[in-house]
Amino acid sequence: MTPEELLDAYEEMALIRRTEKAAHDLFMSGFVKGTTHLAAGHEAIAVGASAALRPDDYVFATYRGHHHAMARGATPEECLAELMSKATGLCQAKGGSMHLTKASTGMLGSYAIVGAHLPMAAGAAWSAKLRGSGQVAVAFFGDGATNIGAFHEALNLAAVWQLPALFVCENNLYMEYTPIADVTAVPNPAADRAGGYNIPGEVIDGNDVTVVHEAVSRAAERARKGDGPTLIEAQTYRHFGHSRSDPAKYRPAEEVERWLKHDPLDVARARLEAAGVPPETISERDRRAAQVVEAAVTAAKNAPEPDRELAFTDVWADGSATWRT
């Protein structure tokens, strides 16, 4: 990444971080219903990967997917409005936090059944291959997803069919409240499985946006050349609990501390400073991000409620929900 690119990445990460913080506060104060799974701490994975992809590539994410939606162009306002059940939400308030989707920019959805979207990403990659489009499809998923059947089936299919698919595991050491190490037979839950599918697997620092950018660039190039899928395990940590108001007491204090010191924003800032970018230039970006998010919160709060009739639209492609005559 050039310093300019890195600066943009920094700003995008700052935007995500602040949006997540806003989402957290809005949840705690009752503006957001249901549940949220915040990605604060995971920003470098979404932003680094996105910077390595073409605009027409496909992305599939999990219920912890705000960062991927935003990295692929969803605005904080659209996201927050969705979380707040507003008509201006990304999915018209019909999806919610767990299903952020921005199809117009290739962000084909956030899926809340662990592992389910890996085969979908394989399918999108298959489609790209069939159409000769040169696109790649990326599935982002958690460490916990590596023990579910769909993971295995998707990896094997993608390998056998040599699909232009990237499987990016965001290993944050925990499933909901249980350490992944307690329930997985290998130390690196994703990368250590790559051999079973005869594909490259690597463990990377998921909190360094430049490292993510490089790894995803390499994998995407490999995929576009027709050499098949890659499995990337990006180590990271979540700053909030698993969901809603989980205080994450199950995590040892020193582990939390160690990881908070390795904050993706700090890592990027250090790299920028090392590249000679003046601190005030960076802070300027921070300020801009803060303003955008502040405005987004206000706009989302003021946005209208969804029309009740939306409950009965878009089951079918013709827009209707008619199941009988």
């Binding site: 496909y58 199809a103 389910a116 399918g123 999108a124 298959w126 499809a137 005559t325």
Partner: protein, 326 residues
Amino acid sequence: MADVITYREAVAEGIAREMRRDSTVVCLGEDIGAAEGVFKTTVGLFAEFGPQRVWDTPISEQAIVGAAMGAAMTGMRPVAEIMFSDFLACCWDYLANEIPKARYMTGGQVTVPLVIRTANGGGLGFGAQHSQAVENWALTVPGLKIAAPSTPADVIGLMASAIRSDDPVVFFEHKALLASSGQRPPDGHLVELGKAAVAREGTDITVVALASTVSVALKAAEQLQGDGISVEVIDLRCLVPLDMRTVLSSVERTSHLLVVEENPYQGGWGGTVVSVVADEGFEMLDAPIKRVAGACVPLPFADALEAEVIPTVDKVTEAVRRLSAY
């Protein structure tokens, strides 16, 4: 070309016709390529369209249907085969939670134009895990269209509509009908999803049937004719969209309703049909509504035992007689 075609051949023919007109139609499934399908329902496709259009898969039902979904969201029209409908249970998450909900929960941002074809039903002595009629599983999930043809012409006509549909369609091919034959329909033959057919006209009682139970009902109707009972047989052809208008207008004339369905009585699709009639058609009825359905047991292996638990002509004639004696 012969005028007559088997149900089995009609499946392959129906797919081939659509593959010819639309290059985005691609097939995937286990043993469907060079092997031409375990039920020989994909004969000729690999030869005509080659490995870029007809893909053999590992035994990975989730990957098959999940990949079909991803491809459908990105410009293709996949036709995925799940060998036996019982195996839909192995990828049920995709049918229950993913495919039918993607459009709705994204506020209409994506469409999922795919077909999941599967060999359904019993009567062949395949035992508990290879004989179920499971259209009712799919009926529990809003967002899936459901076709279950009873004739070769309908196989072709509904297949065309299913593949052209921008909505996901689960397409049940009945194993016991594969060897049956009928008129080969002309090119371009289309049967709209959600239009029931009146398979036989009658005045005394309406029998609603689907797939394998249509011929059971027709045979029963034939026998009952001798007793002076005139039976109207309605072939639903689809469960979603469900053509209740045709059912209700028949019941309006006959005032008697019997539903004949292969799936078990508990949770069977007949319950949905009956409850619409028991509500909206209540005043039309002159007698209780009856269902001849599968027994609430797993499917036993032995032929003689299997016949005990699935609908037969005898069970239908007996039910009709009881109803008309009411």
